[in-house]
């Protein structure tokens, strides 16, 4: 899983990182177009193009039938019935390519959210770091020691939440940082990446130890020790600005990828 996540991270960081210093839309547009092309290719390979084309033509014919024979109620009702069943047939033809597209798209979206879903800690703003222990905390158990890289100030002692087994600290970035927090308890150490300052970059909000969790939180390799379930930094949510509008990255992604797929469908000889 770590190798798989690492490959996806590298891919997303490589494409989305292009021009990120100048504007996040550059990388987002690029990966959205590539995704649109990819979806088109998969759709073309996995769908029954002949059946899709035939069904679409029939649907158009039913519509025309309703328009031409609008004064014949029995014909209109019959065309409407065929239109409904035709639509279901069309949706059925979409199912197979959708099944092929779902998993890779989901994985891509998870990793894109790592890049665009949050922004690095703003300088001089406070954030909370939480370590989730594998079990309940004991009142007399020592608190893990938190060590921060230069430029990150640990503002409070760790707050132990006994019922949930969590320890939280408040931190503040004093300057741009790209490094790791270290949590030490006895001889054991855990690390968690941290980033502060501009620009957009791949961020790992939560570093996890579980295999299933790693599917959803693939920003870092899994924690090797099983005493800790996860370590999390609450990065502020981000929106992507473009032409004076700030929108969630997903909106831009879907608009650009769908638009590019629609515009390039003829070049790839794909009907949908």
């Amino acid at each position: 899983m770590d190798i798989f996540n690492s490959l996806l991270r590298t891919l997303v960081s490589g494409i989305c990182g292009l021009g990120a210093d100048a504007h996040p839309m550059i990388g987002l547009t690029l990966i959205s177009i590539l995704t649109g092309i990819g979806m088109l290719w998969v759709f073309g390979k996995t769908s029954d193009q002949e059946a899709v084309s035939r069904t679409k033509k029939r649907l158009q014919a039913y519509l025309l039938e309703m328009r031409l024979f609008g004064d014949d109620i029995s014909l209109v009702l019959s065309a409407q019935k065929k239109l409904i069943t035709g639509n279901f047939r069309y949706l059925g033809l979409m199912m197979r390519p959708m099944l092929f597209l779902t998993v890779p798209l989901l994985l891509l979206l998870i990793h894109l959210d790592g890049f665009y879903g949050a922004r690095p800690l703003p300088i001089d703003e406070r954030a909370v770091v939480t370590l989730q222990a594998a079990g309940r905390l004991e009142a007399n158990a020592p608190v893990p020691e938190l060590l921060a890289p230069a430029g990150v100030h640990i503002e409070t002692a760790g707050v132990r939440v006994m019922e949930t087994g969590q320890v939280s600290w408040r931190i503040r970035a004093e300057r741009p940082v790209e490094g790791s927090l270290t949590f030490r308890q006895g001889d054991t150490e855990w690390t968690k990446s941290i980033a502060a300052g501009e620009p957009f970059r791949y961020l790992s909000i939560r570093r996890v130890s579980g295999l299933w969790d790693a599917l959803w939180h693939g920003g870092e390799d899994r924690l090797s020790e099983d005493q800790v379930e996860w370590i999390e930094i609450r990065y502020p949510a981000a929106e992507v600005p473009f032409a004076g509008i700030e929108l969630h990255w997903l909106v831009w992604f879907f608009v650009i990828s769908m638009l590019s797929a629609y515009l390039l469908r003829g070049r790839f000889g794909v009907t949908f």
């Binding site: 909370v128 409070t156 760790g158 707050v159 019922e163 939280s168």
Partner: protein
């Protein structure tokens, strides 16, 4: 099918039609935007800083500590500014807004009363629920919108400016909720409620069993049962008017205390924040659900972790209207409050942000109150900077509340702390002075000054002792509100509000006994004689300086909501906290042992405001209604006939 020629022909016709429609629309709109008396003075700039409660005596004592105000005085002018009768902020600022005296604008006190039932209500504005609703089971569907009813009469001056093409920004003008004036940038000020619809209701959570729980003036104390490390606190939001029972909405704030360290993690909705003992949070946005996930309202609040051990104590500010998603109209245009929040961050939207109630009720210490108060001042400074930076022409009015609210808690006893507030305000004046040039005038003004408030007068008890008010049983004196034990059939006068005295008139008040005409005049004369002769039982000092009969002192005949007589106390006296809501305690005058030690609700000659200007002031005795008249004159806009002010320059 249409060929290319047809299409282009159709396009041409569409463009022609669009152009004709646009021209027609422009012709229709021109008279709206550009009609009326267009002024020739649009390029002129006037900045008015309205500094509530800035006192001329305090300035005179500290000119050397206030370099910008001192320079403004030396290079321009400085005069005391006559205040209103009574010198209360809503009354005084309404005169600034309308150019009328209280008889004209109809605001006479913080609290007015229904003349028939004697029930009190807020004088500035009230929120009225939807008058048409549909009830289905426990749900209430409004068929008309709720509205905020403004009680002030008279036209504000700034719509006259904007109608003449003079841009106007009116930021935090008191008694301007909801904000008025199409085409103006306006943010409402004093009188803007919190999400509970009050002037500010703080919450203080504690597990101290010795602390009495319940509602207190301006807040509520919530007793927590003892907890080990974690507990859930209910942050109260507005009432849910979609439910028949109108229960209060709420949000959960989870508290997680470390077992040893004085540090707490708070969880609110999907986020967490950590505070050490003695720290304030930033603004927290919270949604209060009204119809499950379908409909909610957004509010903002801050918390102060006062203590973790041995007793947990947490102060929560009043839940303010979220300026980015306002539940009530707080700005004009509606997007203006969002624009401000985007530029300077979230800010207090409630009218009076400094939490004097929390200090009075012991939820904050004086130091903690000052921290909160300075944070309000900091927000105000950022807002002023933003407005100054974008100010190009016309009028910028900007209101600052900090001097007034701090003077109430510091006056005469904590001079250094109050001077610090004045210094910070002086810096803001300096920032505005940087814009002064040949085309720009700066006016700094206040609505009233300050005096000590050492002794509290239970005016209804004075009326009881002098035979104007009678109880059902003489032993029934006490703090009970709304005249619970007053025998109206034997009562000739009563007091409600801070300075207001009413005759119990036959035909006006329920069970009133004093007839119009001669009997009323005799009662007023008798009241004057008795109250001016009344002396402090402790030292024999005169308590009341003057009584002002409304019909005599105002140019416009007052409304039925106006008091018959306005009481002008002599400093250091003021009406007690029990008097405004109809309490009749046992003693007539008591020591003021509250944290609220400075006041201005007394005879107006003791508490004039200030007027500083970058230009010489021609008037010898300027007053509050002169300010709007001057602004209109300066921009060449005709002054309405009912405005009673005179030009300052």
């Amino acid at each position: 099918m249409l060929d290319q020629k047809d299409v282009s022909g159709q396009k041409g016709r569409v463009i022609e039609r669009f152009a004709a429609a646009a021209a027609g629309l422009c012709a229709l709109l021109l008279p709206i935007n550009c009609g009326g008396p267009v002024t020739n003075d649009v390029g002129k700039r006037i900045i008015v800083l309205g500094i509530d409660g800035m006192d001329p005596k305090f300035l005179e004592r500290h000119w050397d500590q206030l370099p910008n105000l001192d320079r403004l005085r030396r290079e321009g002018d400085f005069k005391p500014l006559a205040t209103t009768i009574p010198p209360q902020s809503p009354v005084a600022w309404s005169s600034v807004i309308t150019g009328l005296d209280p008889g004209g604008h109809g605001i006479h006190d913080f609290i007015h009363r229904d003349p028939y039932t004697r029930r009190p209500f807020m004088s500035m504005a009230e929120t009225a629920a939807a008058d048409r609703t549909l009830e289905i089971a426990d749900w209430v569907i409004p068929l008309s919108s709720a509205e905020v009813v403004r009680h002030r009469r008279g036209e504000p001056f700034w719509p006259l400016l904007t109608a003449a093409g003079v841009p106007a920004s009116i930021v935090r003008m008191p008694a301007n909720f909801p904000p008025m004036g199409e085409g103006t940038r306006s943010l409402s000020g004093m009188g803007t409620p919190d999400m509970h619809g009050t002037q500010g209701t703080f919450t203080f959570f504690t597990d101290d069993p010795g602390r009495e729980a319940g509602a207190v003036s301006g807040g509520r104390i919530v007793q927590l049962s003892a907890f080990h490390h974690s507990t859930e606190l209910e942050i109260e939001g507005p009432v849910n008017s979609f439910r028949k029972e109108q229960p209060a909405t709420s949000a959960v704030l989870t508290v997680n205390c470390d077992p040893e360290e004085p540090v707490v993690r708070f969880d609110l909705e999907d986020r967490s924040f950590i505070l050490e003992e003695g720290e304030w949070s930033g603004w927290l946005r919270v949604n209060f659900p009204l119809i499950g996930p379908l409909q909610s309202v957004s509010g903002i609040f801050r918390v102060f972790l006062r203590q973790v051990r041995p007793r947990f104590e947490l102060y929560v500010t009043p839940v303010n209207i979220d300026p980015t998603s306002p539940a009530l109209p707080i700005s004009m245009p509606p997007s203006y409050s969002t624009e401000l929040a985007d530029a300077i961050g979230l800010f207090y939207t409630q009218g009076m942000a400094e939490d004097t109630s929390a200090l009075r009720k012991g939820a904050l210490s004086l130091d903690e109150f000052l921290q909160q108060s300075h944070s309000v001042l900091d927000e105000t400074r950022r807002m002023l900077r933003y407005e100054l930076a974008r100010f190009e022409s016309g009028l910028l009015f900007f209101y600052i509340s900090s001097v007034d609210q701090n003077a109430h808690m510091l006056w005469g006893r904590y001079d250094d702390e109050l001077l610090e507030i004045y210094r910070e305000t002086d810096k803001m004046v300096g920032e505005a002075m940087a814009l002064i040039d040949g085309e720009t005038t700066l006016i700094v003004m206040s609505d009233h000054g300050f005096e000590r408030f050492d002794r509290a007068v239970h005016l209804n008890t004075v009326l009881l002792r002098t035979g104007f008010l009678t109880l059902d049983d003489p032993r029934n004196t006490g703090d009970a509100e709304l005249f619970q034990h007053v025998d109206w059939s034997r009562t000739r006068a009563y007091s409600m509000g801070i300075n207001s005295l009413y005759i119990n008139r036959l035909g006006r008040e329920e069970g009133g006994i004093v007839a119009e005409g001669e009997e009323t005049e005799q009662t007023i004369a008798a009241l004057r004689e008795a109250l001016l002769a009344f002396r402090d039982p402790d030292d024999g000092a005169q308590v009341i300086e003057e009584l002002y009969v409304s019909e005599d002192v105002f140019e416009t005949l007052p409304t039925e909501f106006a008091p018959d007589i306005i009481v002008g106390y002599r400093p250091p006296y003021r009406s007690s906290w029990q008097t405004p809501l109809g309490g009749v305690p046992g003693k007539t005058v008591v020591d003021n042992d509250e944290a609220w030690i400075g006041d201005h609700c007394i005879a107006p000659q003791y508490v004039p405001g200030v007027l500083l200007s970058s230009r010489a002031i021609a008037l010898e005795d300027p007053g509050l209604p002169d300010v709007p008249v001057t602004l209109l004159k300066e921009f060449g806009v005709p002054v309405p006939e009912d405005m009673i002010g005179r030009p300052l320059f």
